[in-house]
């Protein structure tokens, strides 16, 4: 490993110095303020087309989710007994939608969309969630400005320990207070996958 001047080399001197182009090429992470978003743009209607051909098979034409694949749109309340969490009601930043689609979608061919295409499907997904209008065009300027309903729905400082169990050793509970609130015995959800698992479940 040969390097330029001495101050450019660390104590060990192993490895190489990546070129600016190399760093740029892998720096795909986007931040809430838009840092990391590339040039380009895409509209809701462009996104609708791409989504129909590349995304809808799993996520449904309107983001409703096929089978067990994730729903991309939801307006259920987060206080519901079984909230459906999706971009509209849960995600704090629109930039994260761009970042995630860009790096991980479409699922079978991740990171295969052009920046314009990612802008377009991001616009479409935001529109599905009623977060932007039908004429919205996503780009590095507009995306960070999208108002996300759950922006302040996160506690960013770990409040634990929030439980305060004590290491009681005897007479810790009144026997009559203890009853079984639920049991997996008859739930019938335990998969066997393959080969014997236990002696409890039917083979």
């Amino acid at each position: 490993v040969s390097k330029g001047e001495d101050e450019l080399v660390g104590h060990y001197g192993y490895g190489a110095v990546p070129t600016a182009q190399q760093i740029e090429g892998w720096s795909i992470a986007v931040q809430p303020d838009g840092t990391g978003l590339p040039p380009g743009h895409g509209s809701v209607s462009q996104g609708a087309d791409i989504f129909a051909s590349q995304c809808a098979a799993c996520h449904g034409t309107f983001g409703e989710g096929e089978g067990r694949y994730p729903k991309l749109a939801s307006d259920s309340k987060l206080t519901d007994e079984h909230p459906v969490k999706a971009v509209g009601n849960f995600w704090p930043y629109a930039t994260t939608v761009w970042d995630y689609i860009n790096r991980a979608m479409p699922f079978p061919a991740p990171h295969s969309l052009s920046p314009d295409e990612v802008y377009a499907v991001t616009a479409y997904v935001l529109n599905l969630n009623n977060l932007v209008g039908d004429d919205f065009v996503a780009d590095r300027t507009t995306l960070p400005k999208v108002v996300m309903p759950n922006r302040f729905g996160f506690i960013l400082r770990d409040p634990r320990p929030d439980t305060h169990d004590v290491a009681c050793m005897s007479d810790c509970r009144k026997p009559s207070d203890i009853h079984i609130t639920s049991s997996a015995e008859h739930v019938g959800l335990t998969p066997r996958t393959t080969g014997p698992l236990d002696e409890m479940e039917p083979k």
Partner: protein, 400 residues
């Protein structure tokens, strides 16, 4: 030879290989030392495998498989049985082509191949890695009748690699830097934000696992190790570390791996695994066989340091007694515990309760639910109750 043997009952159920017989394998030659240059478990152990829960995910490529803890005898998880969690399947990474790039707020950005990484000063440490979704299916009630499925998203190994403090010493860190983005080379390009302070404290880039190269399932050729913190942040197939001032708020740390509270707010950045334990015998897969003396066995762990004690109850938490901790008791590692139990053959409720060196006491599921409700998915470190019935069968239950 005393009266004992003379009076012993004949053993009508003795198999053909029992004494005085000389079984086949004692009267023949087995295969030689060139037969298996890389060894395998006995085929009699063919059911000791990782298993997945098909109904849990849309497919198996963003999914999880579970370690068979009911068959793990010590604190080390066998490499072949270490649980898997993928977001885009298991990539086949060519180590010669793979690179780790360190850049951002550094004085000297760095591009390392696996040979470069292996040259840096190295450390080996035994640590667990647990997915925070371990037990996630149990928040609303007992669902899966299996230790493997309730607790198997965990493994513990001897990891070898390089401290991030060594690598960041090499690159230099610019003033004001506070966060690090770690990114994988898998199809998900999985990424997470980690406080720089944690990175400098005890994080490592790992290339060795239990005496051999890191397994593909665990991130071959290199992964991040963030001791004691949720599995997802221990980014596998690590290709990039970017140093910055703020977290990135990636999908995995906002839409996922956050816990919804009853008031609709969600906790994020709840990285540490709090003290937890589980009885691995008895368990649904390994029932009791008649009244008598048994050894209760289990595993305890904490992401906040060493386990300092584990207590056992067989009456659903009315009375407890201390279990024996098996040395070595290592920080942020599985710790094995045992306790003698004379089972009278009557119904019982077996529980274990871990306490770590911070003094934190493992909570009940009722205590957790009183504060966190039923929707958190993650960070269920509750006391597990195994219901033992009179016939010895064991069920996963939850108590009031």
């Amino acid at each position: 030879l005393g009266a004992a043997a003379a009076r012993a009952a004949a053993q009508p159920d003795a198999p053909p290989a029992a004494p005085p017989a000389d079984p086949d394998w004692s009267r023949s030659l087995g295969p030689g030392v060139d037969d298996r240059p890389y060894g395998q478990p006995s085929h009699f152990e063919k059911d000791v495998i990782r298993r997945n829960v098909p109904w849990l995910t849309a497919g198996t490529q963003s999914s999880v498989s579970f370690t068979p803890l009911q068959h793990q005898d010590g604190i080390i998880t066998a490499n072949g049985l270490f649980f898997e969690r993928y977001h885009a399947g298991r990539p086949t990474v060519d180590p010669a082509q793979h690179r780790l790039m360190i850049h951002g707020m550094v004085d000297r950005p760095l591009l390392l191949d696996i040979e470069d990484l292996r040259r840096f000063p190295s450390e080996s440490r035994i640590h667990f890695i647990e997915c925070p979704a371990n037990g996630g299916m149990e928040w609303r009630g007992a669902q899966l009748n299996s230790l493997q499925f309730t607790h198997g998203m965990i493994g513990c190994a001897e990891w070898t690699g390089v401290r991030l403090s060594t690598l960041f010493g090499e690159t230099g860190i610019k003033p004001g830097a506070a966060w690090v983005l770690a990114e994988g080379a898998d199809g998900a390009h999985m990424d997470r934000s980690i406080p720089l302070a944690k990175c400098l404290d005890d994080c490592m880039v790992i290339y060795g696992q239990n005496g051999e190269a890191l397994r593909p399932e665990q991130g071959y050729p290199m992964r991040l190790l963030v001791p004691g913190w949720q599995g997802n942040i221990n980014v596998k197939w690590l290709r990039r570390l970017q140093i910055g001032t703020q977290p990135w708020f990636t999908r995995e740390e906002t839409a996922q791996y956050t816990e919804s509270m009853p008031d609709g707010m969600a906790r994020a950045f709840t990285w540490a695994i709090y003290a937890k334990s589980v009885v691995t015998f008895p368990c649904p897969e390994r029932p009791m066989k008649g009244a008598g003396l048994y050894e209760i066995r289990g595993l305890a762990w904490s992401g906040n340091g060493r386990i300092s004690r584990v207590d056992i109850s067989t009456d659903g938490g009315i009375t407890w007694r201390p279990a024996t901790l098996q040395p070595p008791v290592l920080s942020k590692a599985l710790t094995r515990f045992t306790a003698e139990w004379r089972w009278d053959g009557k119904p019982a409720m077996v529980q274990s309760r871990a306490v770590d060196e911070t003094g934190f006491v493992q909570p009940t599921i009722a205590q957790l639910r009183a504060i966190r409700g039923t929707s958190p998915i993650y960070n269920n470190n509750s006391i597990q109750t195994w219901q033992v019935k009179a016939d010895g069968s064991v069920f996963n239950v939850q108590l009031s």
